[in-house]
């Protein structure tokens, strides 16, 4: 069984640009979660998508947004990038909001 896959592995963007990160959940999992882990900090909840709808979001500005596609894959968009958006972005999927499995992450660097 394929795990949660994320792309790209690394992403370098200039301040003010937009970044798009992608996540494919485990087959059969309908929920996708996005987390941000800034350097030296813990994992902060960003967004939760389930059945194509945004169900919950963490304490992040509206420039963080995303969507979930009919095949349950998900995209995280970060607009108007700021230097402090540099972080590891982790995606997780789950079935029935129980056990969570994480992908390998996308490391975003804003210069």
């Amino acid at each position: 069984e394929a795990g949660v896959t994320q792309s790209p592995t690394h992403l370098i963007k200039t301040r003010g640009q937009q970044a798009t990160l992608r996540c494919s959940p485990i087959s059969g999992h309908t929920s996708v979660y996005w987390y941000q882990q800034a350097l030296g900090l813990g994992l902060q909840f960003l967004l939760w998508y389930d059945e194509g709808e945004e169900r919950n979001r963490g304490n992040f500005p509206p420039r963080f947004s995303g969507r979930q596609f009919p095949n349950y894959s998900s995209e995280l968009n970060v607009n108007a990038l700021e230097l402090e958006d540099s972080a590891l972005y982790l995606c997780a999927s789950s079935l029935n909001y129980d056990g969570y499995t994480f992908g390998s992450g996308t490391r975003l660097t804003v210069v």
């Binding site: 979660y33 882990q37 813990g42 994992l43 909840f45 939760w48 169900r55 919950n56 963490g58 590891l88 982790l90 997780a92 909001y97 129980d98 056990g99 969570y100 499995t101 994480f102 390998s104 992450g105 490391r107």
Partner: protein, 107 residues
């Protein structure tokens, strides 16, 4: 919201030593997971343990849900055990993480 606290924050071990990591949580939960984050950032699921004890090789975990804590035991530590260990609980339709324990195993 729920508070998840881990201790100790940092731990340095000599290869071959044993250790115990603790996770306390402030409210009743249906589940608890332990993760190991390797130096490349990947979060690897170690245990899915709402209650009781589970073992996987040199690692074992115990959750006492009624007393709101969980323990992760690492025996005969190896350098590859180095990294950050997180516990996390599902709460409010998301996974809430502790701040982690940074483990360094020296050869």
């Amino acid at each position: 919201g729920i508070q998840v606290e881990q201790s100790p924050p940092d731990l340095i071990l000599q290869e071959g030593a044993n250790s115990t990591l603790r996770c306390n949580f402030s409210d009743s939960v249906n589940n608890l997971q332990w993760f190991h984050q390797n130096p490349w950032g990947q979060l690897i699921n170690l245990f899915y343990i709402p209650s009781g004890t589970k073992q996987n090789g040199r690692l074992s975990a115990t959750t006492v849900a009624t007393e709101r804590y969980s323990l992760l035991y690492i025996s005969s530590s190896q350098t590859t055990d180095s990294g950050v260990y997180f516990c996390a609980v599902p709460y409010g339709n998301k996974l809430v993480f502790g701040a982690g324990t940074i483990l360094r195993v020296k050869s």
